[in-house]
């Protein structure tokens, strides 16, 4: 059965593949480039193959282009989820379908999430239908402070979800780090430093490497973290924990740091900005969930941005395997803050960029993804209206220039029960 469904899915992918150099022009819509610039009324998005050729007001449309009329609609880049666990969980509480955390594994940093991402998981199709086209997918840390390699994926219906494998390493250095390291932040920091030192030892002579702290595989995985060739996504929330993470560069100057969560980031925003460290921040956290979140506020992202921090919306531990469709709602809420006295939000253009180009740039993929600028991958969504507004629906999703199915099992259930009363035969025959 499994083989059969795989076969069918692969066949569908082949059928959906773009014809060589096929050109499509989406015309008449309100075009959002996604780079923080203002929407363009009556713009055109020109796509050839898997790339955006041009987008904007005065785009010449080749005679042979297939035209899609988007008059009255909005056309945007697909949503880029800045931090997620999508594709790692089908049903949260069914452990066999949950690959986020390997707390009984002997490995940690070497765990590579690309092997766990399931492009056929239903959260992929549900969130694709809501306009989410790319996502940062991170393991959670299990037996150690390090969780392993994360990836950037697409949410296409084909069998190849991985855009970039080993895009980053993930580590916990806040409350979760305290717990996993043995019960103290001091333990987390000495563990972090010791593991990296062990990795250097490994590098000097792999053949004789023998460590009580670290498997050779994990040591090997930490080397690109030390030399900065692999990003390090660090989950911390409190102001003090953030400062201590920034200080790690004194000992490991090449670390390519990205903060995740950072509920108290606004309190030390100048330090984060000065360090040039970007943030994948939770948008609407505003409660002291723990003592690491005492000053959490929805104004966090706006204040960090005003201080010069490069910040995008992420969803760590916030239904991050199922509800990436909240990204647009969260961005809209940050716009809402601009009307609230004393609050700091984002302009509409900034808010949309925080779920499209900015997370792509933070992952160093802005040249390929996250906007409708020329040369970017053609991840395009057509919406019935303002994509951040709650009443808006998705009409079309393209990933890599390929028109995507918007069907999923939620829609099938909806259609089966649009009239709940069974007909002549039971509901099981409605399909």
């Amino acid at each position: 059965m499994k083989r059969l469904s795989l076969f069918l899915a692969s066949a569908a992918a082949l059928i959906a593949a773009p014809l060589a150099a096929q050109t499509t022009a989406i015309t008449g819509g309100k075009v959002v480039i996604g780079d923080g610039s203002a929407p363009i009324e009556g713009g055109t998005v020109l796509i050839r193959g898997d790339r955006v050729v041009a987008a904007g007001a005065n785009v010449a449309i080749p005679a042979d282009a297939q035209r899609i009329d988007a008059t009255g609609k909005w056309v945007t880049p697909g949503i880029f989820a800045g931090f997620s666990r999508i594709g790692l969980i089908e049903v949260g509480a069914v452990s066999q379908t949950n690959d986020t955390e390997a707390d009984k594994s002997v490995f940690s940093a070497a765990l590579d999430i690309q092997y766990a991402v399931n492009p056929f998981a239903s959260p992929i199709s549900v969130n694709r239908a809501a306009g989410v086209t790319r996502a940062v997918v991170s393991p959670d840390s299990g037996s150690s402070i390090f969780g392993g390699y994360g990836a950037v994926i697409d949410l296409g219906q084909d069998e190849n979800p991985i855009t970039e494998a080993r895009a980053f390493q993930f580590v916990e250095l806040g409350e979760a780090g305290h717990r996993r390291a043995g019960g103290s932040r001091a333990a987390a920091h000495i563990l972090f430093r010791a593991l990296l030192e062990e990795a250097r030892t490994y590098a000097r002579n792999p053949a004789v490497f023998d460590s009580d702290l670290l498997k050779a595989s994990d040591a090997k995985a930490l080397l690109p973290v030390i030399n900065g060739s692999t990003k390090l996504l660090v989950h911390v929330e409190s102001a003090n924990d953030i400062l201590k993470v920034l200080d790690l560069r004194k000992d490991f100057p090449a670390l390519d740091l990205v903060l995740v969560g950072a509920n108290e980031g606004w309190r030390v925003a100048e330090h984060i900005a000065a360090a040039g460290v970007p943030v994948l921040a939770s948008a609407l956290s505003d409660l002291p969930y723990g003592f690491e979140d005492l000053s959490a506020t929805q104004s966090n992202i706006g204040r960090m941005k005003d201080a010069g921090v490069r910040v995008a919306i992420g969803m760590i531990n916030d239904r991050d395997a199922h509800q990436l469709r909240y990204s647009v709602q969260y961005a809209g809420n940050l716009v809402a803050l601009t009307k609230v006295p004393r609050a700091t939000g984002l302009t509409w253009d900034e808010a949309f960029a925080a779920i499209s180009s900015v997370p792509a740039e933070i992952m160093d993929m802005g040249g390929q993804l996250g906007s409708l600028k020329a040369g970017r991958k053609a991840d395009v969504v057509i919406w019935t209206g303002d994509p951040l507004e709650l009443s808006t629906q998705v009409e079309k999703v393209m990933i890599d220039g390929v028109d995507q199915s918007l069907s999923n099992r939620q829609m099938r259930l909806r259609d089966r029960y649009s009239n709940p009363t069974p007909g002549t035969l039971p509901k099981a025959y409605d399909h």
Binding site: A93, V126, R414
Partner: protein, 465 residues
């Protein structure tokens, strides 16, 4: 954000009886509920008093009345803590009234959450604060949620300032088949929970079916470990409660039994049953059990599969308290669909949008808006005003307080929210919140925003949040 409370089995059901605070200012309580103690007056009576209010008119405003009505360019006048008049621009305003210009703004009844764990699973979510599940026995009708509520939970203020919440039901969690009594609160800061208790609100009782009780107790090798075990324990409990109830008025009544008092009050119809239940087939089982023992389920909570039996729920007159779009976090939430609320509305069933969450209680208006949009997208015709009813009048009705609050009708408590735009838009937030006519939140006034004891002297004290 963290979702510990949910994983900790949040579920609903509670009960509130006879807390007629003698001499309480808001005296609009309808029928005096029966005393909740077997002898004498009510136990743990409400000490809530309405805070000072000024005669206030809001003019030029769009009004959603909470019962499906909408008035453009409307006027609302409140005095002495009560709604006095609601109408068009011709509505008379006394000369001494404070006038609030509502142009471009919207008024709704205060938002009401039928399912919250603020106070019994407060933030910070540390172990010492885990007071929502008395998970030592699957049958604990004797516990009262109000005895777990910490009034200093910062979540109450967020629910008011960002969500316009003016009343809410705090439930025990869903670890147990019979979780205990709920408590209905006015969302006002207070030193004691008694000073938050909604005067005259009936009690509810929380029940739970499905995965949680069988997981919690099955893992300890005790009943219930299966769904059939759950029903067996529940039915036997009702049989015992029936016996207790029948002997209550004997010459030699049985010794007071806290749990059975609550259960008997359910059978008397004085306590409302709030039943956490996800799956359609299980709801049908619970309905049959309620008929076997002669009580009524007021609302199924987390009813993600209600859309499969919307016709049955409409016929039985049972409300469904639902999320807009939560799904997939456990097996019994696997078949959730975003059109659930709209399909229920289409079938003529009672719809409530609830939170069970300290974050989403801050935007129930947005959750209702999403559920509305998904319904419209499949061609179901629902008005904006009807969607507002999902978070105002309908939860009030399920909590037994609809005669006092939940809609903007003359004589009802002046519990209302002035929004800075359409509350069904993502771009709108509460501008002002009144509870019993008292201005309890004003976005323009940093002082008119509650700061709990816990937050005082901490980083971020008094911030906009």
């Amino acid at each position: 954000m963290k979702i510990r409370a949910l994983l900790a089995l949040a579920a609903g059901g509670s009960l509130l009886a006879g807390c007629t605070a003698s001499g309480a200012e808001p005296s609009s309580a309808s029928a005096a509920p029966p005393p909740s103690s077997a002898r004498g007056g009510p136990a743990f009576p409400s000490t809530y008093r309405a805070y000072p209010s000024a005669p206030t008119a809001i003019t030029g405003v769009t009004i959603f009345d909470g019962e499906g009505g909408k008035i453009d360019n409307g006027t609302l006048f409140m005095v002495d803590g009560k709604i006095s008049s609601v109408g068009g621009p011709e509505t008379a305003i006394p000369g001494d009234a404070t006038v609030v210009d509502g142009s471009g703004k919207y008024v709704t009844p205060g938002i009401i959450d039928v399912h919250s764990h603020l106070g019994d699973y407060p933030t910070p979510s540390v172990d010492a604060h885990s007071d929502g599940n008395e998970a030592t026995s699957p049958v604990t009708p004797e516990v009262w949620a109000e005895h777990s509520v910490w009034p200093q939970d910062p979540g109450f203020s967020r629910a008011m300032a960002n969500g316009g919440i003016t009343a809410l039901q705090i439930l025990p969690g869903s670890a147990n088949l019979f979780g205990g009594r709920s408590v209905v609160l006015k969302n006002v800061p207070a030193r004691t929970v008694q000073a938050m208790k909604f005067p005259g609100a009936p009690y509810g009782m929380k029940m739970a079916c499905g995965e949680n009780p069988k997981r919690v107790y099955g893992s300890r090798n005790r009943a219930p470990s299966t769904r059939m075990g759950s029903l067996a324990v529940e039915r036997q409990t009702w049989i015992d409660a029936q016996e207790y109830r029948s002997k209550r008025n004997d010459a030699k009544p049985p010794k007071r039994d806290l749990g059975k008092e609550t259960l008997a009050a359910v059978l008397d119809g004085d306590i409302l049953v709030h039943n956490h239940c996800y799956r359609a087939d299980e709801m049908a089982q619970i309905i049959d059990m309620s008929k076997e023992f002669g009580y009524k389920v007021t609302a199924f909570h987390h009813a993600v599969e209600s859309y499969k039996i919307a016709d049955i729920l409409a016929k039985e007159g049972i409300c469904s308290a639902v999320w807009a779009d939560w799904w997939g976090f456990k097996m019994e939430a696997y078949d959730a669909i975003p059109e659930n609320a709209a399909l229920l509305q289409k079938a003529g069933a009672c719809v409530i949008v609830h939170s069970d969450d300290e974050n989403q209680i801050q935007r129930l208006n947005q959750e209702a808006a999403k559920a509305l949009a998904d319904g419209r997208a499949m061609g179901i015709d629902i008005s904006d005003a009807q969607a507002i009813q999902w978070i105002t009048y309908n939860p009030a009705k399920a909590m037994g307080i609809e005669q006092m609050t939940g809609s903007l009708k003359p004589g009802k408590m002046a519990d209302l929210v002035l929004w800075n735009g359409n509350p069904l838009s993502v771009y709108s937030r509460p501008d002002k919140v009144w509870i019993d006519g008292a201005l309890m939140f004003d976005s323009a006034d940093a002082q008119r925003r509650p700061v709990s004891d816990f937050e005082l002297g901490q980083p971020g004290e008094g911030d906009v949040k």
